[in-house]
Amino acid sequence: NAGVTQTPKFRVLKTGQSMTLLCAQDMNHEYMYWYRQDPGMGLRLIHYSVGEGTTAKGEVPDGYNVSRLKKQNFLLGLESAAPSQTSVYFCASRFLAGGSGTQYFGPGTRLLVL
């Protein structure tokens, strides 16, 4: 049981390049989330999904797109990377929205945009 995994662990992009970050979970969780963590800002929600085929915007969605074609995968895309998107990206998942509220996080992807 791997939990939540993220690919890649680290990436360097040039301004204007595109890339996709992959999040996978093997816990059969319905809900999945993408966050970014910046110094002094905590974790901010980018996009989230409450089930296969659904996505919704979070606090800071601009410049990102997401897809949830399969229940276990949640993809985060950057169509045209900007230096402001330099950050650490975390994916999280949870089984149901009610109850304890616990989200399980992946190890993160460190992205540097030059």
Partner: protein, 115 residues
């Protein structure tokens, strides 16, 4: 507008003493609060939580206190151990009509426990 605030970026305590991490929130719709712990190069891991119907929740060395009137919660670690050195994030959510499970995080507090 920061709905969840951790005003102390860092805290240093001696091993064996108490660590107290604080968190304030502004949204009165929040009804569930969580603390996450994060080591470098790892994702956050769930530590402890509290519902708004309680004012205290205890799990081993960790206790979370909630003061709804002050919109304030705190995490107490007693006794503190060097392995507790990490970044601690406070988070809040509302189990309202949206039912999305979204969490709002504070900025984090870096705890250093000195041997």
């Amino acid at each position: 507008d920061q709905q969840v605030k951790q005003n102390s970026p860092s805290l240093s305590v001696q091993e064996g003493r108490i660590s107290i991490l604080n968190c304030d929130y502004t949204n009165s719709m929040f009804d569930y609060f969580l603390w996450y712990k994060k080591y470098p190069a790892e994702g956050p891991t769930f530590l402890i939580s509290i519902s708004s119907i309680k004012d205290k929740n205890e799990d081993g060395r960790f206790t979370v206190f909630l003061n709804k009137s002050a919109k304030h919660l705190s995490l107490h670690i007693v006794p503190s151990q060097p392995g507790d050195s990490a970044v601690y994030f406070c988070a809040a959510t509302s189990h309202g009509s949206s039912n999305t499970g979204k969490l709002i995080f504070g900025q984090g507090t870096t705890l250093q426990v000195k041997p």
